[in-house]
């Protein structure tokens, strides 16, 4: 009987369990996490803060998931070290747990900038269910009326929006010259920036917080340009980085994230890694790097699980992508959205009044990136064209037409897509 051990209990871990149990009903599965909860949807913590969902609907699978899948859980305890030779992990309380197959799915940790005042009461990062609880309690206890969010990326903006819904006056401070600068182009950024202003957020770009002030707790921040903003709370959201603590001092190869082959196995046999902690091939460009998004974590965990259970399955790479709704404006971005260079061609549709924006980035005959704002319908068709590297030159003129669809694709390819029983990605 195979003994599977999974470190981390989030989406990659759950996906691995689901794959393992498809093929191995008997093997022993142990899931260990330092978070004391059943797997929950990390992205939903901002929804919960805003009061859009109740706290118990944050859980990712049914209450009896672990029972049904015969998974032993060790929750609320950190794994402190890993012995790759003798194949065991050590828990914080000293217990040693042996494994035949190990999955490291320890996710990411928020980057903590080196700002004076960073340890003051009232300064938070916002990536965990406990952060939600702490932030909520703090807001309630101190009746926070003003907050500063450092970082204008996805997590920062979703958090800023949630705080605004709680009637807190939020200032977003972003170092780049615009928000969402990594995934959006200028036009897309400015649509969202305007909407955030409309709901009452202040958006400050090209600036950063150089000091957090306060005696017992936060009372203000000082910006790089010397400006002072009074606030009762600061949220640091400048990004996440792979959580590789566990494999430090082991012989597992790591770049920024843990390096894996296309079976999600590390350089050490029987030790796998998946999710935000790992690095995989970016289909655009072909380099390996961490792409810390939910769908990747699921697929990687699932592929790892199959291989751990002895069923060969490959992970074929991914692209950067996200779908976020901010201020009731749905947005999708994927791949290279704002590249520089003559080899790229841009096709755009922009309606300022309706806040509709669509942008397709081509490199030669293939699409390498896209942005959709407000009208996101059928966006997945474009993603498929990107990852399948489909030659779009024969239907390029139709690509942003209102009626663009599978019907616009070359007949053979369309038939291949729709007449089969479904798709094997």
């Amino acid at each position: 009987m195979v003994k599977y051990v999974i470190v981390g209990n989030s989406v990659a871990a759950i996906a691995a369990v689901e794959a393992i149990r498809k093929h191995d009903g008997d093997g022993e599965i142990t899931v260990i996490s330092d978070e004391p909860y059943s797997a929950y949807s990390r992205p939903l913590i901002t929804y919960a803060l805003a009061g859009k969902i109740s706290e118990d609907s944050i859980f990712y699978r049914d209450k009896n998931f672990y029972y049904k899948n015969k998974v032993e859980t060790i929750l609320g305890i950190k794994v402190t070290s890993l012995n790759t030779k003798e194949k065991y992990v050590t828990l914080k309380d000293g217990d040693e747990i042996h494994f035949d197959k190990l999955l490291i799915s320890t996710g990411g940790t928020p980057i903590s900038p080196n700002i004076r005042g960073r340890d003051l009461h009232g300064v938070f990062t916002f990536t965990k269910l406990d952060d939600l609880k702490r932030v909520r309690e703090y807001i309630h206890q101190y009746r926070v009326g003003e907050a500063v969010v450092v970082g204008g990326g996805l997590i920062g903006l979703k958090t800023a929006e949630a705080l605004t819904m709680l009637k807190i006056k939020v200032s977003i401070v972003e170092l780049a010259d615009r928000i969402l600068s990594v995934t959006f182009d200028k036009k897309a950024s400015s649509i969202i920036e305007r909407s955030l202003r409309k709901i009452g957020c202040e958006v400050i770009t090209g600036n950063t917080v150089s000091e957090i002030k306060g005696r017992d707790r936060v009372s203000a921040v000082i910006l790089k340009d010397g400006k002072k903003i009074n606030c009762g709370m600061v949220i640091l959201a400048i990004g996440v980085t792979p959580n590789i603590d566990l494999i430090k001092n082991t012989d597992i190869k790591v770049n920024r994230g843990i390096l894996v082959d296309n079976h999600m196995q590390t350089n050490i046999p029987d030790i796998y890694a998946a999710g935000d902690v790992s690095e995989c091939v970016d289909l655009i460009g072909g380099a390996t790097r961490p792409i810390a998004i939910w769908p990747n974590a699921y697929r990687q965990g699932n592929v790892a699980g199959y291989n751990m259970a002895g069923i060969p399955k490959e992970y074929t790479g991914s692209i950067v992508m996200n779908s976020i709704e901010l201020c009731n404006i749905p947005t999708i971005s994927m791949g290279l959205t704002d590249p520089e260079g003559d080899e790229y061609e841009i096709i755009e549709h922009y309606n300022d009044e309706k806040q509709v924006y669509k942008r397709i980035v081509l490199k030669g005959k293939i699409i390498v990136g896209a942005i959709f704002i407000s009208n996101i319908d059928r966006g997945g068709i474009y993603r498929n064209l990107i990852i399948e590297k489909i030659d779009v030159s024969s239907f390029k003129e139709h690509i942003l037409k209102e009626d663009f669809g599978l019907i616009s694709l070359p007949k053979e390819y369309r038939k291949h897509l729709v007449s089969g029983p479904g798709l094997e990605v």
């Binding site: 949807s41 969902i53 769908p295 996101i376 729709v418 798709l423």
Partner: protein, 144 residues
């Protein structure tokens, strides 16, 4: 599992499938009421694509490895263990549209249901033959 097969050579673009699908997914299941008296207005879970003489009706393919289930951040999207259909639990869905981003067929739509939720073919859950198939005058859709 049983799936809907599309035969584009047989489709005449009459859009009866859309009508039946909309009614089937309305509250009243009555055609006049569904079209004229329900709020929020029901929408079909199938869509007909048409260009010149070519047309076909398209709905969720209930993929072997559904990308929408993988991408769903809430766990709302799931495969029904009994029928194999890919379904969305409206109560859990928060309308983040990750599913729309990854569906290669573009067959997941947005629907008002309190908030907005992902809307897709459910193979007419519990009906036997889906209504789009049963009511196609030309057998351009097959369920097998």
């Amino acid at each position: 599992m049983k799936r809907i097969y599309i035969k584009e050579d047989m489709c005449i673009g009459c859009r009866l499938c859309e009508v039946y699908c909309l009614v089937q997914h309305s509250k009243s299941k009555k055609i006049i009421k569904a079209y004229k008296g329900e709020y929020p207005k029901p929408i079909p879970r199938i869509l007909v694509e048409e260009k010149g003489y070519l047309s076909f009706a398209l709905q969720c393919r209930h993929c072997e490895d559904p990308p929408c289930v993988e991408a769903c951040i809430t766990g709302a999207m799931y495969r029904d263990p009994d029928t194999g259909a890919v379904l969305c639990n409206d109560i859990k869905c928060v309308g983040c549209w990750m599913c729309i981003m990854v569906c290669p067929f573009g067959v997941i739509m947005r629907r008002k249901e309190g908030g907005e939720v992902a809307s897709k073919c459910d193979l007419c859950y519990g009906e036997g033959t889906p209504v789009c198939v049963a009511n196609c005058p030309n057998e351009a859709l097959e369920f097998r």
